[in-house]
Homo-oligomer: 207 residues x 2
DNA sequence: TGTACATCAGTGAACGCGCGTTCACTGATGTAC
DNA sequence: TGTACATCAGTGAACGCGCGTTCACTGATGTAC
């Protein structure tokens, strides 16, 4: 990759985190890279292309963070938990980037194929949390496994966004943000246990 | 409330949903309300004040939707599930508004006190889902109940945002969006069951 | 009842701003013969 | 080895745009006496 191109991506990532998406203009990125405001057009068709490329690097970093966390644990359940913590940790460390990655702007796979690929790689890693968690999964049908995967993703994604958007007061939490994340994510284990043990859903329980 | 003021809020809500936050300018709102671009300043200090007021109406509508859904169910668990479905349903019906309400822009309670009140009212409703779900909650300590509340909120919020940002392919889901939401939210029941039955967390299970 | 004044909602011209993008260009590097 | 040409990264002036906000204003409505 051309040196200016990767420098622009780096600088754009910095600016994004420091000032927010709304403050990120092509001209500012160019200026921060010490280059004329037209230079970026040598490497990116338009502003959206640069932003999408930033999102791509974000998804790759997320995958790397997850892989790294997984490799440090031994058992399936511990690996699964590590995925969740790495996921939420990534969002908290780079909130503006995380919002960009999962926001509505670059959700169209047609518009940015390379971005769609990066998303898929990340999604695959996340869904591994399910199988890692529960090797007895063979007993469940596919649909239930998929639902469980979406639920786990929702839990992690919801916690991450509530945290980075300041909706949860983390000062009162023992262990702070990380402590809360651990406790919330540990619930995933309970979900899976309940699932395997064949517990019935809410409305079928005795009142 | 002055007629133009409520008309501006209505029109701003429409524009928000139709064109997205980025396309929502004071001038366009004024034009859509059939009024000069300066007229809104009679009712709102600045653009942010209008946006915040739109968010306030959003939180009130959300509370109303939840109250309505709760009143239609009899048992605690069914009420709890109805809260979740109403919450996710609200987000899916008015995605741009939901993003505005829970996005980072208006998260500062100091800047918009009226907005902070509306948020609190909504949060209270949501956390009722926990107590409604599980009347035996007395056995748990407060911290566990709070963690459970945050987990439920995270699950609903995460599912809602993943859905409205197009991250989940809902075409393959039996029952579509609503069917998936039901299945995912039913997991809340399992969480609470597991919690009450005293199941241990992931890392303590036998490998 | 009439007059004088204050209040208030809405108007419309004007401002300065940063933006994305176009265009024609410069100057360095690589390549064909 | 030298010449002619093509490619390519970066430049800088210029464009038109919509924006939020300022200002001085108009004209209607309410109020005090």
């Amino acid at each position: 990759m051309a040196p200016l191109k990767s420098e622009l991506l780096r600088v754009a990532g910095d600016l994004l985190e420091k000032e927010g998406v709304d403050a990120l203009s092509l001209r500012r990125v160019a200026a921060a890279a010490g280059v004329s405001h037209m230079a970026p057009y040598r490497h990116f068709d338009k502003k959206d292309a640069l932003l999408a490329a930033v999102a791509v690097t974000g998804f790759r970093d997320l995958v790397a963070a997850i892989d790294d966390a997984v490799s440090k644990e031994e058992t399936g359940p511990l690996k699964s938990r590590a995925i969740g913590m790495a996921y939420v940790g990534f969002a908290c460390e780079r909130p503006a980037l995380y919002r960009l990655m999962f926001g509505p702007r670059y959700a169209d796979p047609e518009a940015f194929p390379e971005l769609a690929d990066a998303v898929n790689a990340a999604a695959t890693r996340c869904f591994e949390a399910v199988t890692l968690l529960n090797p007895r999964q063979g007993r469940q049908d596919l649909e239930a496994a998929e639902t469980l995967g979406i639920a786990i993703w929702s839990l992690a994604h919801g916690l991450a966004t509530l945290l980075i958007d300041g909706r949860i007061d983390v000062d009162d939490e023992p262990g702070g943000q990380a402590g809360l994340a651990e406790r919330v994510l540990d619930i995933i284990g309970r979900i899976a246990d309940a699932d395997v043990s064949g517990k019935t859903a809410t409305e079928d329980r005795p009142a």
